[in-house]
């Protein structure tokens, strides 16, 4: 199928879809071991099927008829139903067999079916393969109704040397394909399907994408050998370039050395992302970017210097632009940009970018305090927070949004800010996605948390809460980032405290008319969803995750450790008994609630079992340091609880006695829910 240029990243998936269709076809029609080769370039998708037989093998087809009770009378005569079945399939009833399926007898006949010719099978089936092709985004063209990735301009459909019919809108199949758009002026007629690859090679098209990629790599390696540099052939870029050309010719270009003072990220973005050039490095110093690039032309060696100069000119324009912005930016100190941020609205009704910066800084200082930072660390974290967003007002970041943070860090370094601050400005955006790296220095972490929490608080305070797939401000990613930071860096911070701080900082600054309690709940709930997702993603079981998340504890790290521990002890029978004992108290207390402030009066205990339980309960530690210590306490509770329930009746007739006993249960219940909800646990065999 000949098309106008198909988007590079859609070519391979489409070629693979076609190949799968062909393989399925061969299998369905028992065509034997057929080799299916797929070819693809920006302008064509093709399949060559090798080793096809001329003819499908003859087969025996088995036909299932009516049940025997319907097909025959009790006397053994064929009924009308049996005769009808025979007539429909043109067979003789005397040749019928009787077979049992599921204990019931059915009439069966087998019939010989002559294999069809492969050509006619292809003719009937291949058009469906094209119809089944699916792309993420289709278009229409001209006055036609077909929707496809790009307009179809020619079709070749050959069975050996015979053209088979196929059409898409006004285009009919023929034996004529086209070569390279410029290097081959006339159509290329194929006498036989097997000529496909070689004929295209003649017409300056490398139809096999693997060979094309290899040719590009070989050319690049050759350039490396001649020039003595190293070319970074990043996989995605290489694949994209492979699918932008039909006849690759790699060439080297150069740019002025003065541009090397630009941050390498800016140079690489200009080259690789905007121009699809491969960046070039020093052969010995792997990080040292050189003032060269490699680009791959779709064509031959003719006028290569013109092409090289043209590309150099484009890059020069881009880099001069970048240099201009870079120089402009450097005329000002960060304070200038921070003040400029006062004119830029962050979210309507929630202040400027400058206000946002102030909030991030305040929140950072609070978090730093909770993390027990030294005065020096606190001061550094605060400085990172102060400077983390100034580059949003620079021209470089306006032009290269993907360089936010990178430029800020770079500018700060030029102004001789401490390295930990420069790095923090850059890395407070980490993690950018699930599985991404985390900030290197601890001083960056409160800033990373503050930035995300503030964004969440601001958006939620404006009612911009993600629903379904609509999440225009990537708030899920922000919440996910908070969890990745807390868990990945093992921070002993509670989500409730973080949310409370974010809401408070926002309210104090902006004084909006807010229901802070509701906002707090929504934010905590949103973080909890991401936490749940994260824990499940780590392979923890549903019940264990729910048990830790439904307790009153809100320190994600503690919850993670508890969940991991629960999973490790869940299969131990002793653990199950301990949990069951505690749950008896919990369930009874939930069914017969007392006022929360109810205090147990030890003087009213009459029974030894009451006293024994009270001793243990009164010694329950408020603060649990580790999952292990929680389990030890559970173990201590088991015996006195069991004894308590065996030896006395809690629901005594005397209300004071009863309340005092229920009070003990409530105490246990409150204590255990403080840490986790044991009712969620499901034990093996339940």
């Amino acid at each position: 199928m000949g098309l106008e240029e198909v988007p590079a990243q859609m070519i391979q998936p489409a070629a693979e879809q076609l190949r799968q269709c062909a393989l399925q076809f061969c299998k369905n029609h028992q065509l034997g071991e057929v080799q299916v080769r797929s070819f693809s370039t920006p302008r064509r998708l093709a399949l060559v099927l090798e080793n096809l037989p001329d003819q499908q093998p003859n087969r025996t087809k088995e036909l299932k008829g009516p049940p025997l009770v319907i097909a025959q009378t009790p006397e053994g005569e064929w009924t009308k139903a049996a005769e009808g079945f025979a007539r429909k399939h043109g067979i003789d009833l005397d040749a019928a067999e009787i077979r049992k399926i599921g204990g019931k007898a059915y009439l069966f006949v087998s019939r010989n079916v002559a294999g069809q010719s492969t050509g006619s099978l292809l003719k009937d089936n291949a058009p469906n393969w094209l119809q089944q092709l699916s792309f993420p985004k289709n278009m229409r063209w001209g006055s036609y109704r077909t929707r496809l990735i790009r307009p179809v301009r020619w079709l070749v459909f050959l069975w050996n040397g015979t053209v088979l019919p196929l059409s898409v809108e006004n285009v009919q199949s023929s034996r004529e394909t086209r070569g390279h758009r410029f290097l081959c002026e006339t159509p290329v007629a194929l006498n036989h399907a097997k000529e496909y690859e070689a004929a295209l090679e003649q017409a300056h098209v490398v139809a096999d994408p693997d060979k094309r990629k290899q040719r590009i790599l070989d050319q690049i390696r050759e350039l490396e050998g001649v020039q003595g540099f190293r070319v970074e052939t990043e996989v995605e870029l290489l694949d994209e370039v492979t699918n932008l050309v039909e006849w690759p010719t790699a060439l080297v270009g150069e740019f002025d050395e003065r541009f090397l003072e630009l941050p390498p990220e800016a140079l690489v973005t200009s080259m690789a992302v905007h121009q699809r050039y491969f960046p070039v490095y020093d052969a010995r110093q792997s990080n040292l970017l050189l003032n060269r690039f490699v680009t791959v032309r779709n064509g031959d060696e003719r006028s290569l210097t013109t092409v090289q100069q043209g590309n150099e000119r484009v890059l020069r324009a881009r880099l001069s632009d970048a240099q201009f912005f870079f120089n402009e930016d450097r005329k000002h100190a960060p304070e200038y940009f921070l003040a400029k941020g006062g004119q830029a609205v962050f979210f309507q009704g929630r202040g400027s970018q400058q206000d946002r910066g102030f909030r991030i800084q305040q929140l950072t200082e609070r978090i730093a305090e909770q993390l027990d930072f030294s005065p020096e660390q606190r001061q550094q974290a605060s400085r990172i927070a102060e400077l983390c967003k100034f580059d949003l007002q620079t021209q470089m970041v306006y032009e290269f949004p993907e360089l936010q943070g990178v430029m800020g860090g770079h500018y700060a370094r030029l102004l001789e800010e401490p390295e930990v601050v420069c790095r923090g400005i850059r890395e407070h955006y980490l993690p950018g996605y699930a599985g991404d790296a985390l900030p290197q220095n601890l001083q960056t972490v409160p800033v990373a948390l503050a930035d995300r929490l503030d964004q969440l608080a601001v958006a939620f305070s404006l009612g911009m809460i993600p629903s379904g797939s609509a999440d225009p401000f990537a708030l899920r990613r922000a919440a996910q980032g908070v969890m990745q930071l807390l868990l990945g860096l093992q921070l002993e911070l509670c989500s409730q405290d973080l949310v409370a701080a974010a809401v408070e900082v926002l309210t104090k600054q902006q004084n909006p008319d807010l229901e802070t309690v509701k906002l707090h709940q929504q934010l905590a709930g949103f973080l909890l969803q991401r936490q749940r997702w994260q824990l499940r993603e780590q392979g923890l079981a549903h019940d264990v995750v729910e048990a830790v998340l439904k307790g009153e504890q809100t320190q994600p790290l503690w919850q993670l450790r508890m969940a991991q521990y629960l999973e490790s002890v869940q299969s131990q029978p002793s653990f199950k008994l301990q949990v069951e004992a505690v749950l008896r108290a919990v369930n009874l207390s939930q069914k017969n609630p007392l006022p929360p402030e109810f205090a147990v009066n030890p003087e009213r205990f009459a029974h030894k079992a009451e006293h024994a339980l009270h001793v243990v309960v009164a010694a329950l530690p408020d603060h649990i340091t580790s999952p292990e210590s929680f389990m030890e306490t559970l173990a201590q509770l088991e015996v006195p609880i069991t004894r308590f329930f065996t030896e006395i009746l809690v629901m005594d007739e005397n209300p004071e006695t009863r309340h005092n006993r229920l009070g003990l249960c409530q105490w246990i219940s409150a204590w255990s829910l403080q840490h986790l909800d044991l009712r969620e646990l499901v034990f093996p065999g339940e």
Partner: protein, 311 residues
């Protein structure tokens, strides 16, 4: 071929080429536009079944790209050469490449590529699929098959070719700074445009009264609505363009927040969708006069008739 390289020569060559290929040569619009696409010769005329082949130059204002006339590649106002072919011809890519040949660009001496670039204009509810055309790594043309305009499916589909005149001219003249271009023989681009570039940039970034702009936006919006109510599509569309340009000025001055931005776009879009619908219906009432096949026109008049409301 190498002599006639001024920007003016490029325009004339393209005018001649597209005239020979059946285009009518239209003119820049007299209301501020951000791109040739916004000219009603494209926005409105790509709607409906009527054949339409037109070419024109469009001075296009992008306030946000204003650089006080100091940046060698960035302009408050640049010039697009716009071609609209409806329905898109089967050989439209070849036609386009031929037009480059007439500009003296032999594809064998260059690297010409069609790199995916999908176009979307949310303010007018339009999108299309196509490419940016690269000439030795430089984007020289935007090539788009219109799929929807004003929220209405385009049928037939138009091909839009938008040449960047300054870029092509810079390439042909071997000039690195746009202001050094030869605009007409003996007259540089800078001599003509450096002053307005400086003044428009200064106005946009330093002088413009943003509160006044907000009021104007509101007024233009109201007036567009009134014209739409009176079923006057062209006056309505002019005010929609005014809205769009005022929004671009506000956006460039940094006075619009992320959330407010979406709301402004939504307001322009709402008007554009109504204008598109009204245009199509008004052409239908006129019997799609630009269609040569009158029988087909009659069929379209019936097919696009508003469905009678069920009692």
């Amino acid at each position: 071929m190498t002599k006639a390289n001024s920007l003016q020569d490029l325009t004339l060559t393209l005018h001649r080429f597209w005239t020979e290929h059946g285009c009518l040569i239209a003119n820049p619009y007299d209301v501020e536009t951000g791109a040739g696409t916004m000219n009603p010769m494209t926005t409105l005329r790509t709607l409906g079944p009527e054949e339409w082949n037109a070419a024109y130059v469009e001075p296009s204002r992008r306030p946000v790209d204003g650089r006080y006339g100091e940046n060698p590649n960035r302009l408050y106002q640049h010039h697009q050469y716009q071609v609209i072919l409806k329905p898109s011809p089967d050989d439209v890519q070849a036609l386009y490449l031929n037009s480059l040949q007439t500009l003296g660009i032999n594809p064998l001496d260059h690297d010409i590529r069609f790199v995916e670039d999908n176009w979307e204009a949310p303010t007018i509810g339009a999108w299309g699929l196509g490419w940016e055309v690269w000439l030795d790594g430089m984007e020289v043309t935007q090539f788009t098959y219109f799929q929807q305009v004003g929220g209405i499916e385009c049928h037939p589909v138009s091909a839009e070719l938008t040449y960047g005149l300054e870029r092509l001219a810079m390439y042909r003249q071997g000039v690195e700074n746009v202001f050094d271009l030869e605009f007409a023989p003996g007259v540089s681009y800078g001599a003509v445009f450096q002053q307005p570039e400086f003044e428009h940039s200064k106005y946009t970034f330093e002088v413009a009264d943003t509160e006044q702009l907000v009021r104007w936006f509101n007024d233009y919006e109201t007036e567009a609505g009134r014209a739409l109510d009176a079923e006057l599509v062209f006056p309505a569309y002019d005010y929609i363009l005014k809205c769009s340009h005022t929004f671009n000025q506000l956006d460039a001055s940094g006075a619009i927040s992320v959330s407010a931005r979406a709301s402004y776009i939504g307001r322009v879009r709402t008007l554009a969708l109504q204008a598109a619908k009204l245009f199509l219906e008004s052409r239908r009432r006129l019997g799609f006069p630009l269609m040569k096949d009158r029988a087909a026109a009659a069929r379209w008049v019936d097919a696009l008739a508003p469905k009678a409301k069920m009692p």
